[in-house]
């Protein structure tokens, strides 16, 4: 990013890791050029500030689910709202407009996705997964898993297992 911005001679400032603030607006030319050049890298420019906010929220949540392992969702919402200096009601509206899903839902979804990941890749037992994701019990995890995906974790495990066996033995069914 730095390279390209430099090329365009656009003034900028790096405020945080992964954050660059432009000190001033780009001309339409600069804008288009930038857009095209970084598109090659698969980077898209998102104009809409709502989308930006939504993304930001997502990032925070992902960070929490994957890295920090602390997830009581009520506190998260407060935390996110605080960290972005915006009211909770605002960001939740923005989020649901953009993603058609509430923050709470998204958190649950992320958690369940992580659970699926842990079950499949790291082959952890349900007890270990529940522990890692801060569920109060395996039953709690199973319940939420079933509510979200419609399947119990056991059945999910079995399906993935059977899928794998199929790939190894394409003749069998």
């Amino acid at each position: 990013m730095q390279e390209h911005l430099d090329k365009l001679e656009a003034p900028y400032e790096i405020t945080r890791i992964g954050d660059i603030e432009l000190n001033g607006n780009l001309t339409p030319e600069q804008y288009n050029k930038l857009k095209l050049s970084i598109f090659k890298y698969g980077i898209e420019i998102i104009d809409n500030p709502s989308i930006a906010i939504a993304n930001r929220i997502k990032e925070v949540i992902i960070e929490m689910v994957y890295l920090k392992d602390q997830l009581p969702s009520s506190k998260i919402s407060a935390y996110i709202a605080n960290s972005m200096n915006l009211s909770y009601s605002y960001i939740s509206k923005v989020f649901s407009d953009v993603t058609y899903s509430s923050i709470r839902n998204y958190i649950i979804l992320q958690r369940i996705e992580r659970a699926k990941q842990l079950i499949i890749e790291e082959k952890l037992s349900l007890t270990e997964v529940a522990w890692k994701l801060n569920y109060s019990s395996v039953a709690h995890l199973s319940n939420q898993f079933k509510k979200t995906t419609g399947l119990t974790p056991t059945i999910f495990q079995r399906i993935i297992e059977r899928r794998r066996n199929k790939e190894l033995n394409p003749g069998n069914n």
Partner: protein
């Protein structure tokens, strides 16, 4: 949210179900382009055309004449070009064996056909949301497995 309309295919031999499906989608505030097929063979013929635009979501009924939903599912997943399509099994049967079989063969979502129109709408909405979430939020396609059963 995508500004482009969602391209949806439905293969179902029952006319009433096709009508319900269409009306439900119309009542959901999402732009969709729907194509219908009466059996699996028609569907596969369409999909196998070279250069055809790939749909966003494919809905398959299991019990269809000539070629059933399960066969289509297997065929699609085997096809290099088609294997990443989001596939929803949309069926009346709800035995555990059928459901598990569908997932093992690569279905992403299994919907038991509801007996209530609002439930149908809710189910379709959920499908679209899930598809969107998986696509945009970058969840892994292999883990894209959901069973939907609204009443």
């Amino acid at each position: 949210m995508e500004n482009e309309p969602l391209e949806i295919l439905l293969a179902d031999d029952d006319e009433d179900d096709r009508v319900f499906f269409k009306e439900a989608l119309e009542e959901i505030k999402v732009k969709t382009i729907i194509s219908f097929f009466e059996d699996g063979l028609q569907l596969m013929n369409y999909l196998n055309q070279p250069g055809v635009r790939l749909p966003n979501i494919v809905f398959l009924d299991l019990n269809m004449p000539i070629k059933g939903g399960m066969d289509c599912l297997i065929e699609i997943r085997k096809n290099n070009r088609l294997k990443d399509l989001a596939i929803v099994i949309y069926s009346t049967s709800s035995t555990d064996e059928d459901i598990e079989e569908a997932f093992v063969n690569g279905a992403n979502i299994y919907i038991k056909k509801p007996n209530d129109f609002s439930a149908l709408k809710a189910s379709l909405t959920q499908v679209i949301n899930l598809n969107w979430q998986y696509h945009i939020l970058g969840f892994k396609k292999e883990n894209f497995l959901f069973k939907i059963n609204h009443v």
